[in-house]
C-alpha cells in the first residue's frame, strides 16, 4: 500500500467504487472478529469479549478523526517517524481532495477500518480478565502511540520503513499483524494469566460462533487485501486470489498438524488455520504470485499450529492466541516476501527464490525487528502506566463470576431455567427491582 498524494490525478470512479466496497468489507471484519473471539471464551465472559471489539470501533474512529489520520498519513513531520498535525480534526480535507485516484476522505475511512481491527485484535490476548474501564483508556492511547507511528513508518508519506529501509508490507503484516501480536503479548504479561491457566482446558464455549466469525473475517479480508491495491485493477484481483489461496492452504496445514499431533481435526483448528493463512498473506498478497501465496499460507498454518502451544511452555496467557496466530503468522508472511517476492507484482523487487538475492529478506527482517520491538515496549509501558493509575485487572470475584454479569449486568444465554421464565441474571432480578422501588 503506497498512497500517492497527487491531487492533480483525476478521480477514477472504478477505483473509488471498489474502495468504497472494500471499506465496508473491512469494517465488517471487526464484528466478525468479535464473534470469532466471542465463541472462543467461556460462557461467562462472551458479552465482554464482543464489547471490547465493538467499543474499539467507536473509540478508534473518534481518535482517528481527531488526530490519528493526520499523524499517520499527513506530511512527514520528523525523520520519517511521525506525520504532522496539519489535518487534525480532518481540517482541510474536502470531498474534492484526492489520494491517488480516490477521494482522500475514502482513503481515510479505509485506513480507519484497519486501525479499528488492529486495536480489537489485541483483546484476544487479555480475554476474561481485563477491567473494562482500563480497556476504554487503553484503546485510544494505544492507537495514537503505537498504531499511528507504525502506520506512518510503513505506509505514510516519507515513512522510514517504506522509504529508507525499503521493506514491503502490502496490506498490514507489520502494521496490523505484528503490531497487534506484539502488543497482545505485552499486555498479557502486564495483566497476568487467567485464574486456572494451564490447569483448566478453558475450551471455546461456542464453536459455530467461532466458525461464523472466521467466515466473516475471510469475507472481509478480500476487501482488506484487495482494497489495499487502492484501485480496481489487476493488482487488486491478484491480491484477492492470493488471499483466498493462502486461507485454504493455512486451513489444510493446521488440520494436517492437528491430525498427526492430537489425533483429531478440530473445527477450532480449521478456523484458526484459515486466519493464520490470511494473516501471513496480508503483507505478501501484493508481492507474491499464486504459488508463493499457497506456500505462505501453508507455512503459516503449520508454524502457527505449533506456536499456539508456546504460551504453555513460556507461561504467558495469550488467551485466544493473538501471539501464536497474528504475531507468528505476521512474521512468517513478512519474512517470506524476502523469498517469494516477484517483480511482476511489485514493479521491480525480486525475492531470493526469484533471483533477487537476499537483500529484500534482510530489509524485511529489519522491519520485523523494529516494529516488534517498538510495539512490544510501548504497549508494555502503556499497560504498566494504566495499571498504576487505575488497575488493568478485574477483581478475582469478577473474574470467577464472569465479566458479563459483573461488568455488563447481562448474560449471553438466558434460557429461563428454574420455573421456565425466571431471568437467571442477578443484575436483572425481580428482587433487585423491588429493592430499588422501595429505596428511600
Amino acid at each position: 500500500m503506497t498512497p500517492v498524494t497527487l491531487a492533480s490525478a483525476g478521480l477514477d470512479t472504478g477505483d473509488t467504487a471498489w474502495l468504497l466496497a472494500a471499506t465496508a468489507l473491512v469494517l465488517l471484519m471487526t464484528p466478525g472478529l468479535a464473534l470469532f473471539y466471542g465463541g472462543m471464551v467461556r460462557t461467562k465472559s462472551v458479552l465482554n469479549m464482543l464489547m471490547m471489539s465493538f467499543v474499539s470501533i467507536a473509540l478508534v474512529t473518534v481518535v482517528w478523526l481527531v488526530a490519528g489520520y493526520s499523524l499517520a498519513f499527513g506530511d512527514d513531520a520528523f525523520a520519517g517517524l511521525i506525520g504532522g498535525l496539519g489535518h487534525a480534526g480532518m481540517v482541510g480535507i474536502g470531498p474534492d481532495d484526492l489520494t491517488g485516484s480516490v477521494p482522500t476522505l475514502l482513503f481515510t475511512t479505509f485506513q480507519l477500518t484497519f486501525a479499528i481491527l488492529t486495536a480489537a485484535l489485541i483483546s484476544g490476548a487479555i480475554a476474561d480478565r481485563m477491567k473494562f474501564a482500563a480497556w476504554l483508556v487503553l484503546v485510544p492511547v494505544w492507537t495514537l502511540l503505537v498504531y499511528v507511528p507504525v502506520a506512518h513508518w510503513v505506509w505514510g508519506p516519507g515513512g522510514w520503513i517504506k522509504d529508507s529501509l525499503g521493506a514491503l508490507d502490502f496490506a498490514g503484516g507489520l502494521v496490523v499483524e505484528i503490531t497487534c501480536g506484539a502488543s497482545g503479548l505485552a499486555l498479557a504479561l502486564v495483566i497476568g494469566p487467567r485464574i486456572g491457566f494451564k490447569k483448566d482446558a478453558m475450551r471455546p464455549h461456542n464453536l459455530p460462533m467461532v466458525m461464523l466469525g472466521a467466515g466473516l473475517l475471510w469475507f472481509g479480508w478480500l476487501g482488506f487485501n484487495g482494497g489495499s491495491a487502492l484501485g480496481a485493477n489487476g493488482l487488486a484481483a491478484a491480491s484477492v486470489l492470493n488471499t483466498l489461496v493462502a486461507g485454504c492452504t493455512g486451513l489444510l496445514g493446521w488440520l494436517f498438524v492437528e491430525q498427526r499431533r492430537d489425533g483429531h481435526p478440530t473445527t477450532f483448528g480449521a478456523a484458526s488455520g484459515v486466519v493464520a493463512g490470511l494473516v501471513a498473506i496480508t503483507p505478501a498478497c501484493g508481492t507474491v504470485g499464486v504459488l508463493g501465496a499457497a506456500v505462505v499460507g501453508l507455512a503459516a498454518g503449520v508454524v502457527c499450529s505449533y506456536a499456539v502451544a508456546w504460551k504453555f511452555r513460556f507461561d504467558y496467557d495469550d488467551s485466544l492466541d493473538v501471539v501464536g496466530v497474528h504475531f507468528v503468522g505476521g512474521v512468517v508472511g513478512t519474512l517470506l516476501i524476502g523469498l517469494f517476492a516477484t517483480s511482476t507484482m511489485t514493479g521491480g523487487t525480486d525475492g531470493l527464490f526469484y533471483g533477487g538475492g537476499a537483500g529484500q529478506l534482510a530489509r524485511q527482517t529489519g522491519a520485523v525487528l523494529a516494529v516488534a520491538a517498538y510495539t512490544f515496549l510501548m504497549t508494555y509501558g502503556i499497560g504498566k502506566v494504566i495499571d498504576r493509575m487505575m488497575g488493568v485487572r478485574a477483581s478475582e470475584e469478577e473474574e470467577l463470576t464472569g465479566l458479563d454479569q459483573t461488568v455488563h449486568a447481562e448474560s449471553a444465554y438466558d434460557h429461563g431455567g428454574l420455573g421456565h421464565a425466571t431471568a437467571q441474571t442477578p443484575g436483572h432480578s425481580v428482587l433487585r427491582l423491588q429493592d430499588r422501588s422501595t429505596a428511600p
Partner: protein
Amino acid sequence: MKLITAVVKPHRLDEVKTALQELGVNGMTVTEASGYGRQHGHTEVYRGAEYRVDLVPKIRMEVLVEDADAEAVLDAVVRAARTGKIGDGKVWAVPVETVVRVRTGERGPDAL
C-alpha cells in the same frame, strides 16, 4: 421401597431406559451429572496441550421400586449400562421411608 440411583455413561441412557421399561418400572428421573471415580477422570490433548479432566459427564437416573423388584432392577441397569471399559459408572439402592403421589395423596407402594 427402595430408591435406586444409577450413574452411567450418557450414551447408555437409551439402553438402560428400555431395559427398565421392559421390567415394568413406572417412572424415573434423569439428570445430567459430572463426576469421577477411581481413575480421577482422564487426560486429554487439545490444541497441543495436555489437560487433566477430572469431572467426566455422566447421566444420573433415579428410580423408586418396591423391595421385591430392587435386585431385578439393579441387575437390569448393570446389564444395560455395561460397556466393559473404564468409567461405566455405579448403581446403588437405599431404603425409602415414604413416597406420596402429589395429585392424589396416595402413600407407600400405591404411589409408585
